[in-house]
């Protein structure tokens, strides 16, 4: 299946994933720190265990700046 992954700041890429892949799997595969990410799927805040589906738009917005 294909999903779209964005960093919330304009960088977007399509990614081919196996069925059953979760948000946490994507975070791990990219070696990101989930403790600093605002995660949303199709515009809604999502739990890391959320299973992704064909056509989903996953946003992983790094919260490392700004008070």
């Amino acid at each position: 299946m294909k999903i779209r992954v964005s960093n919330g700041l304009g960088k977007t890429e399509d990614e081919g994933l196996e069925l059953g892949t979760t948000v946490q799997d994507v975070i791990d595969s990219r070696n990101l720190n989930g403790q600093t990410l605002l995660i949303s799927v199709n515009g809604k805040i999502a739990h890391p265990s959320t299973e992704l589906k064909e056509g989903d738009e996953l946003e992983l917005l790094g919260v490392i700046y700004g008070g």
Binding site: Q35, I39, S40, H47
Partner: protein
């Protein structure tokens, strides 16, 4: 799909440090309860207060203004006055300021802006350009400092001036648990443990000296990521861009380190926060923060010979730290 620990609805996030899955509603309620607990633990706001709320356009201050607005309405008799300090960093603060304006309009407040340019006759962009010029010239006796050293001093003074300028007796700043953990670590890493003493916890000085608004930090029991999550769930406008000068900072290094530690050892940041609060008591000789501050007042405050601002007297030539920097940079 994970279920919310509290209500059983689908969970929207996982709090690793408590191993709790929560839905959006239970998370935001918990966030607000923590702000209320901070208020109780440190006696932050009371009836009759006029509170200047430092907003920057960022997530922390957006979450803070939202929570304080609700709290002020619940308690009654509290006036909030949002203030924004414009450091003069083109492409950063001017963009964030639009979000701050949007937030204040959304919540029904008028935002008052104070700029470094007006207060100190130099913007941060000008300060940084001048620093680099003087360093390149190799001017004798000039010590170039990192951006945050200048900005931190100017910002602290600017916030206090702005708070007094709007007639506030208290100044609320959006420092969260991450900020406190970072400051604690930085003080230890610089071998300045005494800085963890009487000042700096959430409550500030209960009766600040003349010329100072009492600084309160309603967000110290909430993590940075939780502030962002709260804003997102409450649809509050905020800006997430980074300060272009932040790359120079020691804080940035400590922040990355603690984010890594939190990933591998969830709870690290709150453990540091609790350690800070315990050590603070120890450093105060078992005294409350209030009595420790009173003892520290045996050293009288000095008055800056240039701008008249009260200061600790540790700077050179009778100047406050801001005027010392402005003189070094030849703005004064």
């Amino acid at each position: 799909m994970s279920a919310c620990l509290k209500c059983g609805l689908p969970a929207a996030m996982r709090m690793e440090y408590t191993m709790q899955d929560l839905c959006g509603g239970c998370f935001t309620a918990q966030f607000e309860r923590r702000v209320a607990k901070t208020n109780r633990d440190f006696s932050l706001l009371r009836r009759g207060d006029i509170v200047a709320v430092g907003v920057s356009g960022g997530k922390d201050s957006a979450a803070m203004l939202y929570c304080l607005d609700k709290m002020a309405k619940r308690i009654g008799g509290i006036t909030l006055k949002p203030i924004l300090i414009d450091e003069g960093i083109e492409g950063y603060r001017n963009v964030a300021a639009l979000k701050a304006q949007e937030l204040c309009s959304q919540l029904g407040y008028t935002l008052q802006t104070f700029s470094y340019k007006e207060l100190f006759s130099a913007s941060m962009d000008e300060v940084m350009a001048r620093r680099d010029e003087l360093a390149q010239e190799g001017k004798e006796g000039f010590t170039p400092r990192i951006s945050c050293t200048y900005c931190g001093v100017f910002r602290k003074q600017a916030l206090n001036k702005a708070a007094l300028g709007v007639g506030a007796n208290k100044l609320a700043v959006g420092h969260n648990a991450d900020d406190t953990a970072q400051t604690f670590m930085m003080n230890l890493m610089r071998s300045e443990p005494a800085r963890n003493g009487p000042m700096g916890s959430a409550g500030g000085e209960e009766e600040p000296q003349e010329g100072f608004a009492r600084r309160v930090k309603p967000l110290v029991y909430n993590l940075e990521i939780e502030c962002a999550l709260f804003c997102k769930l409450k649809n509050l406008p905020f800006h997430l861009g980074g300060c272009p000068y932040a790359g120079e900072s020691f804080r940035g290094y400590v922040k990355d380190f603690l984010n890594g530690a939190e990933k591998n050892y969830p709870g690290t940041k709150f453990n540091l926060l609790h350690s800070f609060l315990e050590i603070q008591k120890g450093l105060n000789g078992g005294k409350s923060q209030k009595s420790a501050i009173a003892a520290s007042r045996e050293i009288p405050m000095a008055q800056c010979t240039r701008c008249g601002e009260k200061h600790s007297g540790r700077s050179t030539g009778g100047l406050c730290k801001a005027c010392e920097f402005l003189t070094e940079l030849q703005f004064a």
